[in-house]
């Protein structure tokens, strides 16, 4: 039973990263109509940003959670302004190829300096609250041992996902976003600076990826190809969930993480392929994804 719970937890952790990344992809796809293949590379940049902050300036994990998404978000906005915006109105394929190229370049640059092996990033050991030193250690829940950091990742990701959903579905800013997704020309004719909103949206989606990168640094180490490995699964998640829906990508992300975890327990041989098998099934039965709108 212990092993089952442990795999469930691993599944929830992976699900957190799937959800944060596919959420960003969904937001970007909605506004820019671009399938952002650079997402994995930007996730990796988030982790490296945390690593640099710690080793070059001594700025630790908690600040990195705020600073890394902003830095990488700004990098993303520069990409959007200088390159992606010229693809507006073109077929999806152009955006996909361009962002794939950007991903290869970014990963190549990091590989050139850091090789392929992982750099360690410690779990933060501050602040000390009660018996806990930061997010280190664990607690015994009776039925299982829960490493604090892993619990934190799941809870924090969930909070960020729901906050993003709230921002998009329930606020005035989100109404602008949804309206501009449907009819950007008319929204602009109402006096809203839509190009600037598109840039900020890309920054937001990219920032979410970078945030996931920081969260993942203490668990998976910091590696130039950490995003390249993950992004393939995330795209499968997005295909299963459907591109257009915010809540859909959150739920699908967590659900597929858990399904993967359960597969690891019941039939470990299939754990690396289960997501792709599901993807094929969904594509055969409902090509727009479980919650998606037609692209």
């Amino acid at each position: 039973m212990q092993a089952l719970y442990a795999q469930l937890l691993v599944g929830l952790i992976n699900g957190s990263f799937y959800a944060l990344l596919s959420l960003g992809l969904a937001v970007i796809f909605g506004m820019l109509n671009i399938i952002n293949f650079a997402h994995g590379a930007l996730y990796m940049m988030g982790a490296f940003c945390a690593y640099f902050l710690l080793h070059l300036t001594g700025i630790g994990y908690w600040w990195a959670l705020i600073i890394a998404p902003i830095v990488v978000g700004i990098f993303g906005m520069i990409l959007e302004r200088t390159m992606l915006q010229w693809l507006a109105g073109l077929d999806h394929l152009y955006g996909l190829l361009l962002t794939f190229g950007i991903a290869l370049i970014v990963q190549g640059v990091f590989q050139n300096y850091f090789g392929s092996s992982g750099l360690p990033y410690a779990i933060p050991d501050y602040p000390e609250i009660g018996g806990f030193r930061g997010l280190q250690g664990g607690m015994n829940l009776g039925f299982m041992f829960l490493p604090v950091y892993r619990g934190w990742v799941v809870v924090f990701s969930l909070v960020v996902c729901i906050a993003t959903w709230f921002l998009i579905e329930k606020t005035r800013l989100g109404a602008y976003l949804r309206a501009a997704t449907e009819n950007p020309t008319l929204v602009r004719a109402f006096g809203i600076n839509v190009p600037r909103m598109i840039t900020l949206t890309y920054g937001l989606g990219v920032g979410l990826a970078a945030l996931a990168g920081v969260l993942s640094a203490p668990i998976n180490q910091v590696r130039p190809l950490m995003g390249a490995d993950l992004i393939i699964v995330v795209f499968a998640v997005v295909v299963i969930g459907g591109m257009g829906s915010i809540m859909g990508s959150i739920i699908t992300g967590f659900a597929l993480g858990v399904i993967e975890g359960l597969t690891k327990y019941f039939y470990p041989e299939a754990s690396n392929t289960v997501v792709f098998v599901l993807m094929v099934l969904v594509l055969l039965v409902k090509p727009t994804g479980l919650t998606g709108r037609a692209a």
């Binding site: 005035r172 109404a175 602008y176 949804r178 309206a179 997704t181 449907e182 009819n183 020309t185 008319l186 929204v187 602009r188 004719a189 109402f190 006096g191 809203i192 600076n193 839509v194």
Partner: protein, 242 residues
């Protein structure tokens, strides 16, 4: 910019001269000339495809390639972006109404930002369009065609823009709704709004318009006041083929 509303009736608010516009490679407008004075309701008449909608969209800055001169309150807006044009106080209600499916009625109504003071309050809007109050939580595209048209007009009244461009507001609507929209336009006019209307429904236009321009093949070929209407009836039948 509050002086815009306070301009004396009769001052030119919009003047368009030699406006040419292109959709991609196709040259649609070949030299449009007309003007609108403060407090007027001016109607562009013409057959399908004459260039009336393109004229509105060019004024709004939505058509990519446009030349000539468009001046609004003395300012040159020929090359301005549509968000800037909107912020100068021009509001546009498109032919296809542009109600957003992913927004509920309340969100649709509150979507266009306030560009200046002096817009209608929500209460005033509900007084004009009582149906909307009942439907606030419905999804935008679940409304009937008439309700969608009312919502499309209502949402631009909040913004404080005093110059409204309505593209075929009566298209496809039942006579009783058309009548309601006519009353609304008359009411807005009495409150000092300036309105540029595109209509195919000449009968409707004649109940609200002060002046007409006839658009044909991307040019304004004639214009006359409502008082000269009966004298121009024969010409009009030829122009419109009705």
């Amino acid at each position: 910019m509050a002086e815009a509303a306070a301009r004396p009736a009769g001052a030119e608010i919009l003047s368009v001269s030699d406006l040419q516009a292109w959709y991609g490679e196709s040259h649609i407008l070949h030299g449009i000339n007309f003007n609108v004075k403060a407090g007027e309701v001016v109607t562009l008449l013409g057959r399908n495809g004459a260039g009336k909608t393109t004229t509105l969209k060019s004024v709004m800055g939505i058509i990519g390639k446009r030349t000539g001169s468009i001046r609004f309150n003395g300012q040159d807006i020929t090359r301005a972006s549509s968000d800037r044009i909107a912020r100068l106080g021009i509001a546009f209600c498109p032919e296809e109404r542009g109600i957003f499916a992913s927004l509920d009625v309340r969100e649709n109504l509150l979507l266009p930002p306030i560009v200046r003071s002096g817009g209608l309050s929500l209460d005033q809007i509900f007084e004009l369009f009582p149906n909307l109050r009942e439907r606030l939580n419905s999804q935008g595209t679940k409304l009937s065609g008439g309700e969608q048209q009312m919502l499309a007009i209502a949402r631009i009244l909040r913004t404080g823009a005093r110059f409204l461009m309505l593209d075929e507001p009566t298209e496809g609507l039942a006579p009783v709704i058309i009548q309601q929209i006519g009353h609304t336009i008359a009411r807005l006019k009495s409150e000092g709004f300036t309105i540029l209307l595109v209509e195919q429904n000449f009968r409707f236009a004649s109940t609200v318009a002060d002046r007409y321009y006839i658009v044909e093949h991307g040019k304004v070929i004639d214009g006359f006041a409502n008082s000269e209407l009966s004298a121009n009836m024969d010409k009009l039948h030829t122009y419109l083929g009705v």
